[in-house]
Amino acid sequence: MGNVSETDEAMNQWEVVIGIETHAQLATVSKIFSGASTAFGAEPNTQACAVDLALPGVLPVLNKKAVECAIRFGLAIGAEVAQKSVFARKNYFYPDLPKGYQISQMDLPVVVGGHITLQVGQGDKAYEKVVRLTRAHLEEDAGKSLHEDFHGKSGIDLNRAGTPLLEIVSEPDMRSSDEAVAYAKSLHALVQWIDICDGNMQEGSFRCDANVSVRPKGQAEFGTRREIKNLNSFRFLKEAIDFEVQWQINEIEEGRRIQQATVLFDPDSGETRMMRSKEDAHDYRYFPDPDLLPLVISDEWIARVRGELPELPGQMRERFVSEFGLSNYDATTLTANSEIAAFFQLTVAIAGKQNAKPCANWVMVDLAARLNKDGKEIAESPVSAAQLAGLILRIADNTISNNIAKKVFEALWNGEGATADEIIEKQGLKQITDSGAIEALVDEVLAANPANVAEFKAGKEKAFNALVGQVMKAAKGKANPQQVNDLLKQKLAG
């Protein structure tokens, strides 16, 4: 206990500052500067054409689809899409970089500014946070070095060389690893929402670098940052930042200075270790690529792309509040990613607007918990939106109670029936609403439990609940709870 509070106290004196750079692989069919395919998993070097191999004399030609992805992203985050941006060469030697330079954007990126609104934490502790974006620019990916199976030599696979990337740079607006993860998740959901990236983190389609520094609370200037490279899961992102923050605080508290550096996170040890210091930093000798003209994006092009954009999470959130009367928290949760939003919208479409609130609860609470238990994504849910809506309709029309509904849901999950109705019918779960039948049960219970009746009459409210429980038990849970309550009260008062 002592340790924890000491750590808390130490943490309380420090403020964490995090900025994130994300590389999102754009979902184009061909590469950013050549016609070769971008499909993942092909035999090494089968998807590298003359341009990707950087044969003498070849030239890059910009893929318009990659530009459209950048425009979509810019519009989705309320950024400025630059009318003119410039491709630059970043020069360095590495075997997986065939030209000896990477074509990227430096001084004039295609997307400038913008912001993302995210929700950090859950339930009562949840809060909204706006993270500003600095820029997003287009660039090409490098190939891959393969260090195994070559008898002491390295192999090079250039299939990935030239794959289009959007590098998205945030302002240093995040103040905890939780905020960093919430940001990364929001961004991850957004790029899939607008269909510019498949979001596959295992295949490297979405990877983050975190710039982390700490400063005493109240200090205006930032501390010296270290950059953690290539984090390809949200868990690693959190673990790496948490370790790094603690490491930096310890260093400072022990009187050492933080040196600007690039570090790698080792998931096995849970530690970060230095890759190179600022002194080792390359001079990339950036200059505008003379093989490519400046990228000019017309207002017409932007307008066309805007017209093709789906409803964005922010717009949808506002609509859920105004149209369905949902709380801000619910609306934000339901628009966390496009799959949840689509599932919820389909559920409401079938169950009806008047049932929007129970639809929201079922999707956010019961379904989410069940998915979580089985480690499933909503897209893999065994219970479809239509099945869930059918279930919600039976609650709404009093065919079943909420408690029975949970049983029906589990039955649907296990595939015991195609619809809620079928399960209710087959398993005889229909709620008893016939007041005569309920009255008979109530009378039976009152007669059989004189002690409880006496206690209630002596003023013990708890005894009432016991009697309700007895009636429900007798009804095998199927009696309408409201009717049971009303009748019991009536009889006991009488």
């Binding site: 191999l53 950087a54 044969l55 004399g57 065939p98």
Partner: protein, 485 residues
């Protein structure tokens, strides 16, 4: 036959006076005989050439021939040609067989049906003005084999001047078509930047490089240019313009033509006899109906320094791909990756190329970029603006192509700055992206002198017309080196 114009050769082929196989063999035989002295070609492949000639003869027989089908041409070894060793004059690529065709190669051979006689020698990666930086040894000038043919397209120039080929391609980054044309008594044209595709043309300085024809006359150049130009979706800097026939206006009279004479081109620094030949040519133009007007290119003295920042900067990056990893030369021994790069590049590149890579890396490096690269780009803009201003009062600009005639082998090889200054009149044209030509205009000490014509953007047709009318009135361009007689 060897001194016939392309038009005459075309007619001879069409009339079946000669077949393409016979014509090609004629030139291949000359190459076999004279190339050991001149070193104009680095790759000759009789079998490949004759195969192309056979295909051309079939096209002629089938009646599907174009105007240049079956005519042989020499290709500068900077153009990638499928199945041909493509060296760019470097040890680095001495073993590189291209798996693909440059757009120019595709157009001239696959489409127009011309026959490749082989690949011509050149300064390594087109860096040089004398052809002495080639890994394959210097080319000798057919007019005096102790002298250089100019560069970097020196092999192409020597080949055409010695009639080892009726015509050739060249590339021009700072004068590499015009200067060797001047030194070898040829007509050479560097088109407006973006007119000829750079795809498959091994890059030296991407924003300056432009391919073009080298031949005996303006008429030949016009026919060749017709086959070389056109928008290419593989080259983002290629311009999408309507196709024109560059031979169409060749005969147009020159009455009223306004010739701009930049005072900066007629001052000191040019050999007197060269200047005398240039002035005589201008007097000839006045006889043809042209008038002259003095113009000024006030920033032209900055063109050499600006060029030697921009061109090396781009080259230092363009040549990074030659790292020994995927193709070309790799050092035989190294202990690690760093060493593989260092040794491969130290051994694979010649000293002029290394000098320019170092200059380029320096001017792009952190802390120097603004003072060198950005400043040079500003000067480039000023130089282009000078031309825009000058063309307000004239139609074409004239002056010397080179300040001297062909110099002796080794004469300037040890002094890079002297060598760089031999392009003093040509470089500004590349910086501005304008079309420029060199045409034969006389002799000084028995060596050819070139007259430079500079046109406004896309005025290739006009330049060819201006050159052609002069060649109708004079015979300088018909003079041949003794080995070609």
């Amino acid at each position: 036959m060897i001194n016939k114009s392309l038009k005459q050769l075309s007619q001879a082929l069409a009339a079946r006076q000669i077949s393409s196989v016979e014509l090609s063999s004629l030139f291949l035989d000359r190459i076999e005989r004279l190339n050991p002295t001149l070193n104009a070609f680095v790759t000759v492949d009789r079998e490949k050439s004759l195969k192309m000639a056979l295909a051309a003869d079939a096209r002629i027989a089938a009646g599907t021939a174009g105007p240049l089908t079956g005519i042989p041409i020499a290709q500068k070894d900077i153009f990638c040609a499928e199945g041909w060793t493509t060296t760019c004059g470097s040890k680095m690529l001495a073993n590189f067989v291209s798996p693909y065709d440059a757009t120019v190669i595709r157009k001239m051979h696959n489409e127009a049906g011309m026959v490749s006689l082989g690949k011509t020698n050149m300064d390594e990666f087109a860096m040089g003005s004398s052809n002495e930086t080639s890994f394959f040894g210097p080319v000798r000038n057919p007019w005096d084999t102790n002298r250089v043919p100019g560069g970097s397209s020196g092999g192409s120039a020597a080949a055409v001047a010695a009639r080892l080929a009726p015509a050739a391609t060249g590339t021009d980054t700072g004068g590499s078509i015009r200067q060797p044309a001047a030194l070898c008594n040829l007509t050479g044209l560097k088109p407006t930047y973006g007119v000829v595709s750079r795809y498959g043309m091994i890059a030296f300085a991407s924003s300056l490089d432009q391919g073009g024809p080298m031949a005996a006359s303006a008429e030949d150049c016009a026919l060749l240019l017709n086959t070389m130009v056109g928008f290419d979706e593989r080259d983002s800097t290629s311009l999408d313009r309507p196709v024109e026939d560059y031979a169409r206006d060749l005969e147009k009279p020159l009455d009223g033509l306004r010739i701009g004479l930049p005072k900066e081109f007629f001052g000191e620094g040019c050999e007197a006899e060269v200047m005398a030949a240039v002035r005589a040519a201008i007097a000839e133009y006045e006889k043809l109906g042209a008038t002259t007007v003095e113009v000024s290119l006030p920033n032209s003295h900055l063109s050499v320094p600006a060029y030697y920042v921009i061109a090396p900067a781009e080259a230092s990056s363009n040549l990074s791909r030659f790292d020994g990893a995927r193709y070309g030369y790799r050092a035989p021994e190294y202990d690690n990756l760093e060493q593989m790069y260092e040794k491969t590049r130290a051994q694979g590149f010649g000293s002029e190329v290394k000098r320019r890579i170092m200059i380029g890396a320096y001017v792009l490096s952190h802390g120097y970029y603004d003072a060198y690269y950005l400043q040079a780009q500003r000067i480039r803009r000023l130089i282009a603006d000078d031309f825009v201003e000058a063309f307000k009062s004239c139609d074409v600009i004239m002056g010397p192509t080179s300040p001297s005639t062909a110099f002796k082998l080794g004469e300037k090889a040890a002094d890079p700055v002297q060598m760089y200054l031999s392009d003093i009149y040509t470089i500004a044209v590349n910086l501005a992206g304008l079309p420029g030509m060199s045409i034969p205009c006389g002799f000084a000490g028995g060596l050819p002198v070139g007259l430079q014509l500079i046109g406004n953007y896309f005025a290739e047709g006009q330049l060819l017309n201006v050159a052609h009318r002069y060649q109708q009135a004079t015979d300088w361009h018909q003079r041949r080196a003794s080995c070609a007689e």
